[in-house]
Symmetry: C2
Subunit: 340 residues, 2 copies
DNA sequence: CTGTTAGCGCTTTCAC
DNA sequence: GTGAAAGCGCTAACAG
């Protein structure tokens, strides 16, 4: 008995007493194999513990059965949740997921310069990642289908929320509570952040729509993150006339705002209301009111969108998922008679 | 002029007027190519925009240059941070990262039953993932190097913190503040959670070491997560004699504890101190005292460990990274004269 | 240092 | 329904 370490298709064919061609067909569920032959092959394969060589299969067939997922900030909830959802759909469909994490500018340049995924994947999903013209050009070189997950992309089919709508909902919530002096702590400067300008613009628009004059003092900008947001909030507290509510670019940043308020003895929501965007799992623990988005839904839909393309099926190329306010304890009616 | 869509090594060789073998050598930085020939090949490759077919290369060479990362709970900070760090090292070394996310029991069974990464990778990194004997057996079938990241594995080389030590440090911190009645809110029941029993056992040991009798009432168990922890804390508040401090299994859970305390009007740390483990980015925003671990360091080291093995280099197979208490505002001296 | 020669392990026409 | 044969595009001896 041979002690073959790795069993090949030839072994299976021999064991089943058929040609390699037939064995291959049987294993791939291709047409043109009699049921009895097929089961004989399958049985032999199982007995020999056969596993196809994916490389040989790919080389011969020309398809990779793999998808690249391009993502940054995987250490943040939003991105992890997104990738998890994408992976789930893709692996369920028999695709491998090649992960490319590009956090630094250096990673990023390197990725687009080298295109390490080239010839390795049938498609790529870009997660909440605004890409430059140059980067788009490079990506095109890969000559595969591209889908954007969680960011409205002008260049590619996408699945995302409507950032403007989310901001609008937040503002409507606050305005309904009587707030007029509403600040926003926003992330920017970071070209890596998604939706950076969208949310800020929407803030101005929504204010205007409500007949509230935009006050530049109330729009503070900082890097993405809770600590930067905490610092930005200090600036807000330095104002002669304080805001009665703060909208944060994301929940993490809202938590930063809340820390500053807490440390300064400002009561939330009695003195100042705070609202975030995302519905981060920890928002609930912080009693933070927020505009909820379903990240896993966006991940799922974007993966399905790519799969549809790969199957040659037409699909809606611009999908927008819902957002809505989740009211918790960090927002309340404006306090007109407060003394500070 | 030919309109070749995809340029092959043969094209490059022809353009550089060398054999395919030489072209291959030049492209792979192999020895035995004169500088001038090499540069001629490289130039031709660049001009033709040549990209090797990874499948063909793998088929011919027998190496995959890919690593599988097996992970669950990618939506949690710990896991995302870990994978990000791993990816960074691996991609820097020229490896592709195949991501396998197994969150549900179903995913998990499927993964180990099918072993979709088989024959596709040179090694696998298992992220904080206690595997069963059966699963280990299946994994062995892949016949590749395996490393555990962020969980002490009896079966594989690993990089992780010393969970017992972390708990001990937390307890030492509390005891130094005068606490004797220290509760623990711990995650368990979930076979998917890492270090689940380790931390609980360490809690008992560390108490004993400090001469504090273990009180079963003070050890409450729940599923992993902030909300379960919040509920578990309610149970604690139902006790006749309250604890003066709570150690949570993780920062997320500590935040759950804090919510219950806050909602119940229990002051932190005046009435009850709270300490977590991890140093989650949001712990800082919640002013949570915690035992810090560097997840990215563990990710980096485990990837480097695997790379060493793949290079045939010997390396330390059990690496333990440091932890230490980061004091913030959620812990304070025990309040002996408190009235509740 | 460079070229020749075999494959790597499959899939896929094309016949039968 | 099944088999024979021809590659897929590259790497790795082995010669020279």
């Amino acid at each position: 008995v041979g002690e073959r370490v790795v069993v090949s298709l030839a072994d299976v064919a021999r064991a089943a007493d058929v040609s390699m061609a037939t064995a291959s067909r049987a294993l791939n569920n291709a047409y043109g194999v009699s049921p009895v032959t097929r089961s004989r092959v399958l049985e032999a394969a199982r007995r020999l513990d056969f596993v196809v060589s994916p490389d040989a299969a790919r080389l011969a067939s020309g398809t990779t059965n793999a998808v690249a997922v391009l993502v940054q900030h995987l250490d943040r909830w939003y991105f992890g949740e997104m990738v998890a959802a994408i992976e789930s759909i893709l692996s369920g469909a028999g695709y491998d997921v090649l992960l490319y994490h590009v956090n630094t500018q250096e990673d990023r340049s390197k990725f687009f310069a080298d295109l390490p995924a080239r010839r390795k994947v049938d498609g790529v999903i870009v997660v909440a990642f605004p890409i430059s013209d140059y980067e788009r050009e490079r990506l095109e070189l890969m000559d595969v289908r591209i889908v954007a997950a969680g960011g409205q992309s002008v260049a590619y089919p996408y699945v995302s929320i409507d950032d403007g709508r989310a901001v609008q909902q937040a503002l409507e919530h606050l305005i309904r509570l009587g707030h007029r002096r509403i600040a926003m702590v926003t992330a920017s400067g970071d070209t890596l952040a998604p939706a950076e300008t969208g949310r800020t613009d929407a803030y101005r628009d929504a204010l205007e729509e409500a007949g509230i004059a935009f006050d530049p003092e109330l729009l503070v900008t900082c890097e993405w993150g809770g600590v930067p947001a905490a610092e930005a909030t200090e600036r807000l507290l330095g104002l002669k006339q304080l805001p009665t509510a703060i909208l944060a670019h994301s929940d993490e940043m809202a938590l930063g705002c809340m820390r500053t308020l807490r440390r300064s003895g400002v009561r939330v929501p009695e003195d100042i209301s705070v609202i975030g965007i995302d519905d981060h799992p920890l928002a609930e623990l912080a009693d933070l009111t927020t505009v909820r988005q379903s990240v896993s839904e966006q991940g799922r839909l974007s993966a399905e969108l790519l799969l549809a393309f790969l199957d040659g099926v037409d699909a809606e190329t611009e999908q927008v998922t819902n957002t809505y306010v989740v009211t918790r304890r960090s927002t309340g009616p404006v306090n007109t008679s407060r003394a500070r």
